[in-house]
Symmetry: C3
Subunit: 107 residues, 3 copies
Amino acid sequence: MLVFSRHTTTALAINEDEERLLEDVKVHLEKLVPSSGTYLHNDLHLRDVPPDEPINAHSHLMAMMLSTSEVIPIADGKLALGTWQSILFFELDGSRKRTVFLQICGD
Amino acid sequence: MLVFSRHTTTALAINEDEERLLEDVKVHLEKLVPSSGTYLHNDLHLRDVPPDEPINAHSHLMAMMLSTSEVIPIADGKLALGTWQSILFFELDGSRKRTVFLQICGD
Amino acid sequence: MLVFSRHTTTALAINEDEERLLEDVKVHLEKLVPSSGTYLHNDLHLRDVPPDEPINAHSHLMAMMLSTSEVIPIADGKLALGTWQSILFFELDGSRKRTVFLQICGD
């Protein structure tokens, strides 16, 4: 099964769905890509953008550190995830309505 | 061909299988996600876990920096990897018996 | 559609094709994996390599931070990318002739 995030500031990962680990992911990403950092993409006055364009270069960069597409095998009609694996979806630029595409390939 | 790691503390990458580069990967991941760092997931007394639960938040975070699923094209009945490409499997929380799922899709 | 980079010093990402953001990606990767860093893979005198072997451990490590394979759904005969999504291809060890493999799976 293909899982595909249709956004540039969200990301997927397949890992353990443990609430404290998910907090660690946030801290880790913020360390790698500080939201308070200086990014060219955030110079909105130098870009042709709508008035509500967000300051979110860090969200894009964080997304690229994780995944946009994951393919998960199906065996015996079920997702063949490992015991501790879940499909995680991260919103890296705040919460709003998002679309994730699922597609099953094969017989 | 789909290659899928069924664990949350292992990861895949497709890159060069050169022993010194593999050492560089270890050093690099340790720099990005220090195993001696402070992680909420490691506060075992605040979680409902079995007595042998490992201290391995860094292993999970490292795994998310690499890949869980990779899809490799097949052409003329062979994996169409580039000259220097190999499928690399990283154990990020010590060595033990692991399962990697392979599935071939198509005609 | 499978998109697969056949090189160990190039990488894919699916994100926004905005020129200032692409500059941010370069700066970000250079921060995570400094090209001036010390890497075992760069000790060419300790490896059996051709005379023109490049000094490019950082390029390999950067590639592993991004993606080698991405799978993009097709719906109604078109790539079902999100509004801001593009398929980005990064050359992390200079520019030269490169091959990206595309394969469409399904009916």
